[in-house]
Every structure is written in C-alpha cells, then in structure tokens.
Symmetry: C2
Subunit: 98 residues, 2 copies
C-alpha cells in the first residue's frame, strides 16, 4: 500500500539540502546555511550523513585563506531523491491538486 520512505531523506533539513543540490549541482556550506536557515552544526551533521550514504560528495578546500566546503549530489543521490519523491506520491494521493 505505502512504500517505505527513505529515512535519510525523510528529514526536513536533509531534504532541503538535497532539493537545493538537485537544482544547483554544486553548493558551498554557506550557501546551504543561508538557503536553509539551519545552524552550522546541524548542517555539518546532516552533510556528513548524506555523504556517508553516498548521496553526495564533499570537497574541502581553501578560498582566500578560509576553509571552503563544497557539495555535489551524486547519481546515487539523484536516484534516491527521485525514488523518495515517487514513494511520497502514495501518501499525498488523497490531496492531489490539479
């Protein structure tokens, strides 16, 4: 009846991050900070989880002497996101709008 909802994506912040990365392909830590409005700590934790799952790649470098963390969604991440969206459809069916 209802498909499983990938618990890694069924989280407001992680879903926000994935949603952003789906559209921009590459984003800095501060970009995610600004767009999501979450705390740095929270973002740091969730990025690590998404990376460990192989949903995104994280590159750490330096820019103007400051650390710069850059993220990219992976094919696996894109796939998981699409599956999640698809699974969610079952749950929203009742309220589907035109």
């Amino acid at each position: 009846m209802f498909k499983e909802l990938d618990p890694l994506l069924h989280s407001q912040l992680r879903l926000s991050i994935m949603s952003l990365l789906i559209s921009v392909k590459s984003a800095t830590f501060n970009f995610l900070l600004e767009k999501t409005g979450a705390t740095r700590g929270n973002i740091s934790v969730q990025l690590k989880k998404l990376e460990e799952a192989g949903y995104l790649e994280i590159d750490k470098s330096f820019q103007d002497n400051y650390p710069l963390t850059t993220c990219r969604i992976t094919p696996k991440g894109i796939d998981a996101f699409e599956r999640y969206v698809d699974a969610l459809r079952d749950y929203l069916g009742g309220a589907e709008k035109a």
Copy 2:
C-alpha cells in the same frame, strides 16, 4: 525558501493514517492496522497524538462484544494535511515530474 513541515504530519505512519482517513472519511483500528502494516502499539500511540492535535476524532465502542475504535479526520486535520502537501511542494520542486 522552505516552509516548515508540520512535524506531526512529517512521520511515515502518521502521514499514512492521515492519507487513509482523507480518502475513506472513517476507519477502524484494524483497517489502519492492515493498510499500514504497522504494529498495534505504534498505531495506538500515533492515533492519540493526532487526536490530541485535533486532527482526528476517535470513537470507542463495542461490536460483537469486542472493543471497536473508529477514527474520522476533522476539518482541522484536513486543513493541516493540505498545508503539509503544499509545503512539501517546495522541497520536491527540483524533481517534479510531468
């Protein structure tokens, strides 16, 4: 950018329950048990939370000597569900399918 996702609805089981009640208007405990595949304990807990929030009404009666719990979604519950679906749209935008 991203709207808040009602934490009461952003839960796989509670969302399943609300989704079912949106379409059938009235359901027994066992109906929910069968359709969701969750445990009785879990369903009991989540029903109570949804009731406390005013998202649904629970009626307890007897049928053939056995307890019978029946649930109905309230207007407030319908409203919350629709808001949730609407908010979610922001998050899925990137993967919106035709």
